[in-house]
Symmetry: C3
Subunit: 338 residues, 3 copies
Amino acid sequence: MNSFTVAELAERFALRVQGDADVRIDGVATLANGGTHKLAFLANPRYRSMLATTPAAAVVLREADAASSPVTALIADDPYAAFVKIASLFETRSTPAPGIHPSACIDPTAAVDPSASIGPFVSIGARSTIAAGAVIGPGCVIGEDCHVGEGCELVARVTLVVRVRLGQRVLVHPGAVLGADGFGLAMEHGRWMKVPQLGGVDVGDDCEIGANTTIDRGAIDDTVLEEDVRLDNQIQVGHNVRIGAHTAMAGCSAVAGSATIGRYCLVGGGAGILGHLEVCDRVMITAMSLVTHSIREPGEYSSGTPLMDNRSWRRNAARYKQLDSIARQVQARNKEKG
Amino acid sequence: MNSFTVAELAERFALRVQGDADVRIDGVATLANGGTHKLAFLANPRYRSMLATTPAAAVVLREADAASSPVTALIADDPYAAFVKIASLFETRSTPAPGIHPSACIDPTAAVDPSASIGPFVSIGARSTIAAGAVIGPGCVIGEDCHVGEGCELVARVTLVVRVRLGQRVLVHPGAVLGADGFGLAMEHGRWMKVPQLGGVDVGDDCEIGANTTIDRGAIDDTVLEEDVRLDNQIQVGHNVRIGAHTAMAGCSAVAGSATIGRYCLVGGGAGILGHLEVCDRVMITAMSLVTHSIREPGEYSSGTPLMDNRSWRRNAARYKQLDSIARQVQARNKEKG
Amino acid sequence: MNSFTVAELAERFALRVQGDADVRIDGVATLANGGTHKLAFLANPRYRSMLATTPAAAVVLREADAASSPVTALIADDPYAAFVKIASLFETRSTPAPGIHPSACIDPTAAVDPSASIGPFVSIGARSTIAAGAVIGPGCVIGEDCHVGEGCELVARVTLVVRVRLGQRVLVHPGAVLGADGFGLAMEHGRWMKVPQLGGVDVGDDCEIGANTTIDRGAIDDTVLEEDVRLDNQIQVGHNVRIGAHTAMAGCSAVAGSATIGRYCLVGGGAGILGHLEVCDRVMITAMSLVTHSIREPGEYSSGTPLMDNRSWRRNAARYKQLDSIARQVQARNKEKG
């Protein structure tokens, strides 16, 4: 188990110590739960009342809160960021050894860097390449003409169907499917005709793709994620979507085909964006909202109605059907009156 | 094929027979479809009219409906519960033999009980333990430091990423991913920094986890499902969520990080619960509602609007944007009027 | 790389050529991006302005647009359908060779046609049958008593749990799970009792099932998809649902148990249909709408509210809770007045 003195942590991350710098830290904890040799943090003022009684051995906090700390304090301008970096020291993921597991099934035309690690029950298709230091976990399926960049990790059971190119240090969680057929159909003589999906998927450096998230490949051009895009679990990205750098999308959100999302956007859980729309940079969409038109101005956008007890909701929701009629009556009265 | 006389069923489940107790039953059916030697049930009064013409050989029903039955009746206080128990007699799942399939890839530090069954293409990581009678189906991936309790079943292609502990008799359906990284990010200098996810997932006895459902592990403490929690397919449970015993969630619902849900709650399909909220015991959330604040009182809660034909909907929805203005006008008129 | 002259394409698909019929085409492109030897199309009038400057070598378009084409034109009544057929010529999916990969694990009572292709790490359970020309990709799990029809393709990591029958030419994308337990529960003495799921799943010819989509098997009778049903990614279909022929559902939509959907319906992304409802033929549900009652008339249906900037939304949404009260006040005024 890793352990550090508070003094060592302070030096490593340029923080100031108040109290006993020799306190030894071997892990992190919440303010409420704490624990011997555990480090907690206080960033959200909501939790300030927990500081006085924290069982933690030390706390990362702002200068302004230092006086209230009953234990050793590590003082930071951004206590959460400092805590995150310290917490990373206690991560204990074992790095799999380089090399190809004997059970893996690799096409003779595929190229795997000797420093990459290929786990059990992995299959890799024709002409695909796995770069240096990449980790392909158990049960992953990589189809034809894919590229996995340097330092990528496909945790387990990830599928790259065809023509999927991952930049460097892309992290893909289990069950994610990249490069499946986009949903392209044309009706002819009363039956669906399938539209061939000839494009691929391009994922930039430092992207993260959540568990069971799906990103379809493009119909003609590619589906694109720029660098540092962060997708949570169970997200659906349609064909030919483009998501700008540093945009983060929460679980169960979805973007329909050919929509373009800007940089530094935040999409709330379960939110939807219709196809062929454009959303500019720095837009925030709240949870379960539906974006039905392009957004040209940065800012926060919402749709939906508030939560109510079901009886009140039934009464009010029934009136929603009369809303236009109510509005007309109010206007008519105003006119009479006016 | 299993078969029983009505008399045998009556004795086994303490039911009363009306009519021919020697009728032989070899399976179950709906009232409408019935079939020779098939048993149907009548619980919902909506279907009472189907009783007279049912082609079933016998029917489980309430005392009050017995007189109307044209066929042998099994009389129960709770006909649905009785039917469920009888139906279970006709389930024909083959139990896989104990032992480890030769293709499985098991870390030398993992421990598998000799009575457990490990299917083909399963991988089990360091320090993980599989208890007595557990069944790990084809293609499952179990990472490091996991525990699968007695009598659990992971049907196929389930992933337990790391630090996932399942109680006894937990049933996990294909494609489910437990213990993936929670979605923790901090922005620093215009780039996302990943928050390490040091916790695990704790799943209580008798829980059921649906196909392609995802449950992330905690950031610091664990994500927790208490006993007898029932999750349908494609549900997303964020990091550090706690779900109380006997709560059931329908397909595509989602709970964001650090929310706490009480016991005996029912969450409708596609409903969402925002992060850090608390929902007390015995709350029912209707389908596709969004819980935006904590709920302190048991009862039924909803959000959303009624379904309309698109033309009416367009007219009314447009007025939603004027709702505050309409309300102000109505208030102003009321004031004038006094 | 396949290539054709415009003359060859015109003859093959009965189109008329305007301009140089000897132009050689080796792929397709968008009007905007074009490319030497690339064929683009113009169907949506919105993109007409791009025609003049297209870098494509030739364009498929309507008679009415032919005069404006700066390059060789292929004239079609339905340019999109013609383009789709031409594009299919440039699809380069390699067809896996017939035969069973040595790593596959096949029950001795299963039957695999010699012309089928079974990929690596596939397992096939007792009494299941794989028909002629079917392709079972890497990592698929096929349980007991399943049937995969002629010419089906299970791309990779598909699970057919038990009693799943696929017609001919069904295409199933990675991560899809068919035939998992329906979500059937009965509460008894304060604990959930599992309702056995004794039915199966029947999928008609020419259906397509998207990545990570889930279709549960029936409780008593089967869950049914009629022919030519097209499901996008991450769709949830509950037990005993019936979906009519030629219906298409977009990503993340869901149908709860025992609902019946007609033929030629279109269900928008993220839309939900409650259990036990009936939706007639030729119904279109817009994105993220919730169907709360049966629909008896063809047409377009919606629920939800428009997108607004968050400040306006907060103001208007708060009034939604007063909607019934507002309506009553307006009615009262009208009565006074009337």
